[in-house]
């Protein structure tokens, strides 16, 4: 199967993202499965960033670091990324950094032949299209849309820039006999979506009506999307003064009957933790999207990690039920958001959805979102069926009928103090306090029975299993396939629902490896606690970059 990885690198503000976006859109429009991810420094200008675009005929949705085509936009980018160029790969640049380089002087062409210096990047995009054998007209259609608000003159100038870049690169390719690729149009269309888009769309699907959040990378995109589209859709959006306010606002909205959420990253989530406990105590449904980045403290603001699993599982003082989900890609993220709202509603608990910078920012190809399988369910009580309403009525499964204030004559009272069924403060240690503790525990047991088992991949005949969770799924599957091709009998058990962990029939007699993008092996400690499992070995990273199949295979092979 065709599998080509194109890396574009340059300083922040130099246009790396735009070049990548236009190329990804063009390949997607031609019917290819594109997977693009970016890594960038926490600054607005300067530094060296990269976008990687992996293109294939069917979705792979897993990152690779190594480039088949490398386009550095400056010499610093060349120096930083050249080691990632595969043997036989093509280096496309404005100057001859080394031999062989396909030299296309972007700036000179833009200035002298187009008469528009800022079109240099469009020359570069055209050159990339030339290297890849992309039909210039397909690129033109995407470019026209990209510049549609800039006026006919700029559109024409960019067309010309792209054509010149394309011609120059194509002829350099012919001379060097270096570019084996071609991307004829295919009769296939994928959605090309990032988590940061699919997550808010999942919230829309779920019937979320309120979001409050404080901006924090890599979670900001979620509230940004809803700020743009939400009001039109009837979603109340508020930028809170801090994460404490954001979480308490969401709890207030939920208490008043609205499906409500907040989103943040680790540092902001730390500020929300008291309110998570409040949602647990007051039995208020709450959905928190926690987009992970490396910590501790400020850590690496624009990088990725799976470092907050145990933090999410343990978030909140005291003992109360909560759920933790971790989708692996945009489709799963959309479904996980619906699932999160449904679980929060049904069990009246906080639900934390873990994503990370990689899942947030990478764009995945999705064949079908299967909305018919992501259906919002709510569990309202009927005010007419209640004679004397008690918000915290003691029930066999611990779940009390939920009404909202103003809905009916029934008054609704919620209390963060230990309370009686009416919601009033109690210190009746003999009867009421144990009854409420037991109620919350029963609810937790019911929640645990509702949680979904992990996904098994090629595990039946496997001697060894990779245990993974969240956004590393694509890379782990690819590593399993790669190691299978080397003769290893490997499989994967992948968790998307992490807390409370459900009953699961663990296959016996297999060597287990936990594969995680963190340094401590957080999943393995949860599995040890819940299933008394011990792993044979750990494949861990935690360097701020997404985990790739090649990294997994390298660490695995080093330990074998």
């Amino acid at each position: 199967m065709m599998d080509c990885n194109i890396v574009i690198a340059g300083a922040a503000g130099e246009g790396v993202q735009t070049v990548g976006e236009v190329l990804a859109d063009t390949l997607s429009a031609l019917g290819y499965a594109v997977f693009s991810w970016q890594e960038y420094e926490s600054r607005v200008r300067g530094g060296q960033n990269s976008v990687a675009i992996r293109v294939s005929e069917a979705p792979v949705n897993a990152p690779v670091l190594e480039a088949d085509v490398l386009l550095p936009l400056n010499s610093g980018a060349y120096q930083k990324y050249v080691s990632r160029l595969n043997p036989g790969g093509v280096l496309l640049a404005a100057e001859g950094y080394r031999d062989p380089t396909l030299v296309v002087p972007f700036r000179e062409i833009a200035t002298e032949e187009v008469g528009l210096a800022i079109a240099a990047n469009t020359v570069a995009i055209g050159a990339l299209a030339g290297v890849l054998g992309i039909d210039p007209e397909a690129l033109e259609r995407v470019l026209d849309r990209h510049f549609q608000n800039k006026g006919p003159e700029l559109i024409e100038a960019n067309r010309r820039a792209a054509r010149l870049g394309h011609e120059r690169a194509a002829s350099a390719c012919r001379l060097a006999d270096a570019c084996p690729w071609s991307f004829p149009a295919r009769d296939q269309r994928y959605y090309l979506t990032a988590g940061t888009e699919a997550i808010p769309i999942g919230a829309v699907r779920a019937g979320c009506r309120f979001i409050a959040a404080y901006p924090m990378s890599p979670a900001t995109g979620v509230i940004k999307y809803l700020a743009k589209h939400g009001e039109q859709l009837g979603i109340f959006v508020d930028q809170a003064e801090d994460e404490i306010a954001a979480c308490n606002m969401a709890i207030g909205a939920s208490f008043a009957g609205s499906r409500a959420m907040t989103c943040t990253s680790g540092g902001g989530f730390a500020l929300m933790v008291e309110a998570i406990s409040l949602a647990g105590m007051t039995e208020t449904p709450l959905v928190v999207l926690l987009a992970q980045r490396p910590g501790p403290a400020t850590g690496l603001p624009t990088r990725t990690a799976q470092g907050d699993l145990l933090f999410a599982v343990h978030a909140g003082h005291g003992e109360f039920p909560k759920a933790v989900l971790a989708p692996s890609g945009p489709k799963e993220a959309l479904h996980a958001m619906v699932r999160a709202f449904n679980l929060a509603d049904r069990f009246q608990v906080p639900v934390i959805v873990l994503s990370d910078q990689f899942l947030s920012d990478a764009r995945f190809s999705v064949t079908d979102f299967e909305l018919d399988k992501a259906v919002p369910e709510s569990f309202p009580a009927d005010p007419a069926a209640v004679s004397r309403y008690q918000r915290y009525a003691l029930t066999p499964d611990g779940i009390s009928p939920r009404l909202y204030p103003g809905q009916s004559e029934h008054l609704v009272a919620a209390d963060s103090d230990e309370h009686d069924p009416d919601g009033h403060i109690t210190e009746d240690l003999a009867v009421m306090v144990p009854a409420m503790v037991a109620k919350r525990r029963r609810k937790g047991e019911a929640l645990q029975r509702a949680m979904r088992a992990p996904e098994a991949y090629r595990s039946e005949d496997a001697d060894e299993l990779f245990l993974s969770w969240g956004s590393t799924r694509g890379a782990v599957r690819e590593a399993v396939d790669g190691l299978r091709a080397e003769g290893r009998r490997l499989g994967m058990i992948h968790f998307s629902e992490l807390w409370p962990l459900p009953e699961f029939d663990w296959p016996t007699g297999k060597r287990l490896w936990n594969v995680e993008n963190n340094a401590g092996g957080q999943l393995s400690s949860l599995l040890a606690r819940r299933y008394r499992l011990s792993v044979h070995g750990s494949i861990l990273a935690g360097d701020g970059l997404p985990l790739t199949a090649r990294t997994i295979r390298r660490i695995y092979n080093e330990q074998n």
Binding site: G252, A260, L278, D372
Partner: protein, 288 residues
């Protein structure tokens, strides 16, 4: 049944016998009765402290949440259901201390909330530590050498930031406080009502000491005059001045734009969007 009995609650009151908080409770019940407020459309929101227990003591919907966080919780409630009369009952430790940031930013949003601040100049529930309004020099649990922090003047801050209404009452004068609360509850936007509420357990002075110092807003004070209100609140006698201090110019309230598009229904009544709407959002990610 008297009109205030409509708000009767069976919950056991945990305040000290004789606490001026009882006067605030009475004033609130009377104001709500006068406004013909029904308990079902009333939502009280509180944090932690003695004042924050108030919602338990009258019949209403309530959310007794975290210390300092009543205002954000109330904002969420109001966003979700603007038909509720939402009142924050809080103390100065809760609202000016732990949650001070939220009050500041609530002033920016101008939600249609009444924020009723019981100001006893002390942390009473935790037994007498200094609060954000304790006068300089008082010897307190964590300030055995005397307090060397200056008190916050939140009513002045609220005037500066154009709160819809700023008033101060005296807990020992429930009749006047009732009048101020009626004004506050019926004023669209953020109304800050601070109440001088001498703590009978931890304050150094008896109620009579306060009564001697309380003075009404001068007869010629114009509540629409922002500079006059600031001057009054900044003066030495400002601390004990009670009455309607300031009425801000009308301005949009929290969620107005949203409501003009979607009406004032509770958000809970909106069904999830149809599949076609979600499909349309997703289609933006298909390239051609």
């Amino acid at each position: 049944m008297s009109r205030t009995d409509r708000f009767h609650s069976d919950a056991e009151v945990q305040w000290c016998p004789g606490c001026p908080n009882f006067g605030i409770l009475t004033a609130l019940k009377k104001a709500l009765s006068e406004l013909n407020q029904s308990p079902r459309d009333l939502c009280l929101v509180s944090g932690i402290g003695q004042a924050a227990k108030l919602p338990h003591y009258l019949a209403c919907n309530f959310f007794n949440g975290l210390h300092g966080r009543a205002i954000p919780t109330a904002l969420g409630i109001q966003a979700a259901n603007p038909q509720l009369t939402t009142i924050v009952t809080t103390g100065e430790g809760d609202c000016y201390g732990e949650g001070g940031n939220h009050l500041l930013h609530a002033l920016r949003r101008n939600p249609d909330l009444t924020v009723l601040v019981h100001n006893n100049e002390i942390y009473a529930l935790t037994k007498g530590q200094a609060s954000p309004t304790t006068p300089v020099g008082e010897v307190r649990g964590l300030h055995p050498q005397g307090l060397d922090l200056t008190p916050l003047n939140f009513p002045a801050i609220a005037v500066l930031h154009d709160a819809a209404l700023v008033a101060r009452g005296f807990a020992a004068d429930p009749e006047q406080l009732k009048t101020l609360l009626v004004e506050a509850i019926t004023t669209p936007g953020l109304a800050l009502v601070e109440v001088i509420q001498p703590c009978i357990s931890w304050n150094p002075h008896p109620i009579a000491w306060y009564r001697e110092r309380i003075r009404p807003v001068p007869a010629d004070h114009d509540p629409a005059d922002k500079v006059a209100a600031l001057r009054l609140l900044d003066s030495p006698e400002g601390r004990y001045t009670v009455g309607l201090l300031y009425r801000g110019r009308p301005r949009p309230t929290y969620g107005d734009r949203f409501r003009s598009a979607h009406g004032r229904h509770p958000l809970a009544e909106l069904a999830p969007p149809p599949t076609a709407v979600v499909d349309q959002l997703l289609d933006a990610f298909k390239r051609s």
